[in-house]
């Protein structure tokens, strides 16, 4: 009987130690859960922030592209008009229509002046990165589009990274809640082990320790996985 009582006291002592370890684990895991939750909320906010910036950048890019293409179109149109008017003036001279030819030349000069000045306003005609390689050629539109999309792409990439981080931390936070639920079960089992008769102490302790092991293994895989 005395030997049984000694064993019972030992199990009870072990139960107290394991309970103590479980409560400390619960405290640490609750801290990890709060941390994961906060990180997921921050990442969620950043994801929304970058999405707003990306939409703004796409709007700005639309305005810029519209302006550049309109400027280029105007410059090309005026340059073509100037060429056509010069050809018209030559034809008129051949037909000895001197006054009409002079008027055509004047209009050609005006169109040329407009084309030259408007061309100065377009990066597609002035920036060495996009301007035509040869006279009369077309600007490098692909290089222009690649360059203008760069900032929007960077922001979308940051937004995607933040969204991924949000998903990852949110999943971790949910997993920690499950681990905490497991530790609540463990505490219940250890509490029962301390309050129950000596015959039931070992089964409660074994089951509780098994669940605690699973919970700690899951926590380690969440921390280092």
């Amino acid at each position: 009987l005395i030997e049984n009582q000694v064993v019972s006291v030992r199990w009870r002592r072990l139960a107290v130690i394991l309970t103590m370890a479980s409560t400390v684990s619960a405290a640490v895991i609750a801290g990890l859960q709060a941390d994961a939750n906060i990180r997921s909320e921050t990442a969620n906010r950043e994801s929304q922030y970058f999405a707003i910036l990306a939409s703004g950048e796409l709007y700005r890019q639309g305005l810029a592209t519209d302006y550049e293409f309109r400027t280029l179109t105007l410059a090309v149109k005026d340059a073509q008009e100037a060429t056509l008017l010069q050809l018209t003036a030559l034809e008129q001279e051949n037909r000895s229509e001197e006054d009409a030819a002079a008027l055509s030349r004047l209009r050609a000069t005006l169109a040329e002046a407009r084309a030259e000045r408007v061309g100065q306003l377009s990066v597609l005609l002035t920036d060495p990165a996009y301007m035509p390689a040869e006279e009369g050629g077309t600007p490098n539109m692909q290089a222009y589009l690649d360059s203008t999309f760069q900032e929007a792409n960077r922001l979308v990439s940051l937004q995607n990274d933040a969204a991924d981080a949000y998903r990852q931390w949110n999943q971790k936070s949910d997993a920690y809640v499950a681990v905490l639920a497991m530790i609540a079960m463990v505490l219940t089992l250890y509490g029962l082990a301390q309050a129950s008769s000596e015959r039931m102490q070992l089964p409660f302790l074994t089951l509780g320790s098994f669940i605690l092991g699973l919970a700690l293994f899951w926590t380690a895989s969440l921390l280092f996985g």
């Binding site: 009870r12 107290v16 309970t19 103590m20 409560t23 400390v24 619960a26 405290a27 609750a30 801290g31 709060a34 941390d35 906060i38 909320e41 921050t42 906010r45 929304q48 922030y49 707003i52 910036l53 939409s55 703004g56 709007y59 700005r60 305005l63 810029a64 519209d66 302006y67 309109r70 400027t71 105007l74 005026d78 002079a102 004047l106 000069t109 005006l110 040329e112 002046a113 407009r114 030259e116 000045r117 408007v118 100065q120 306003l121 990066v123 002035t126 505490l187 509490g191 301390q194 309050a195």
Partner: protein
């Protein structure tokens, strides 16, 4: 704690004291839970405010860009007409020179009015004849009072500070819960086990209270320091 006096109904004196301790710790835990939730709520408010201000800021920025490109389109018309007037004036035709003068006197001033500062302020005209739209945009932003009144970085920094405080307070709240668990264990245990459980519970409670005080004082100091 050692020898137990029996009160009415066979309840030991230590059991009454432990019950009182449980009540106090429960109350403290409730206050801690409220404070943690309160901080979370304030952090959420600051975060929402930051996001709303981000939307406002982006709308105002979009409007500034729209204005700059509208001015650029008008400036383009101005410079085209100016070039035309120059070509007319340079021609040998007297009628064309009169037309150039009319353009200079009537059309160009009106176009300049529409085009605004991109035409009237030489700071935006670059050496190669192009327009410095980025500089015009920067000046529009600097003059935009509604935009300058926004403080989204401040709102996000406040949200981060409150969340950080909540992070540490939630650890303190767990310490109180752990203390509650041990006190409950003391209530149902006997003799030496009861004494040990009670001491551990009280130690956790004291540690939790100190933890709370340190986190709150640290947050107060950080808020005063403008962090």
């Amino acid at each position: 704690l050692a020898p137990q006096g029996e009160g009415a109904g066979g309840i030991g004196r230590s059991e009454i004291w432990i019950a009182i301790a449980i009540a106090i710790v429960s109350l403290s835990t409730a206050v801690a839970a409220w404070r943690t939730s309160d901080l979370d709520s304030h952090a959420g408010d600051a975060e929402r405010e930051g996001l709303i201000q981000t939307v406002q800021s982006q709308s105002l920025t979009n409007e500034d860009w729209r204005l700059v490109y509208e001015q650029a389109a008008n400036a383009q018309r101005y410079f085209a007409s100016q070039a035309e007037a120059g070509a007319l004036a340079a021609s040998g035709n007297a009628g064309a020179r009169d037309q150039a003068q009319a353009l200079q006197d009537y059309l160009l001033p009106n176009l300049a009015l529409i085009a605004g500062q991109l035409v009237t302020n030489p700071a935006y005209l670059q050496d190669d004849g192009s327009l410095d739209l980025q500089a015009r945009f920067a000046d529009e932003q600097a003059a935009n009072q509604a935009l300058n009144a926004l403080d989204l970085e401040g709102a996000f920094a406040r949200a981060d500070r409150l969340r950080n405080q909540r992070r540490w307070l939630s650890v303190g709240a767990v310490l109180l819960v752990v203390s509650l668990f041990w006190l409950a264990l003391a209530e149902i245990s006997r003799e030496r086990a009861r004494r040990s459980a009670l001491l551990i519970g009280l130690a956790f409670y004291g540690f939790g209270l100190v933890w709370f005080a340190v986190v709150e004082l640290g947050a107060l100091a950080a808020a005063r320091g403008g962090v």
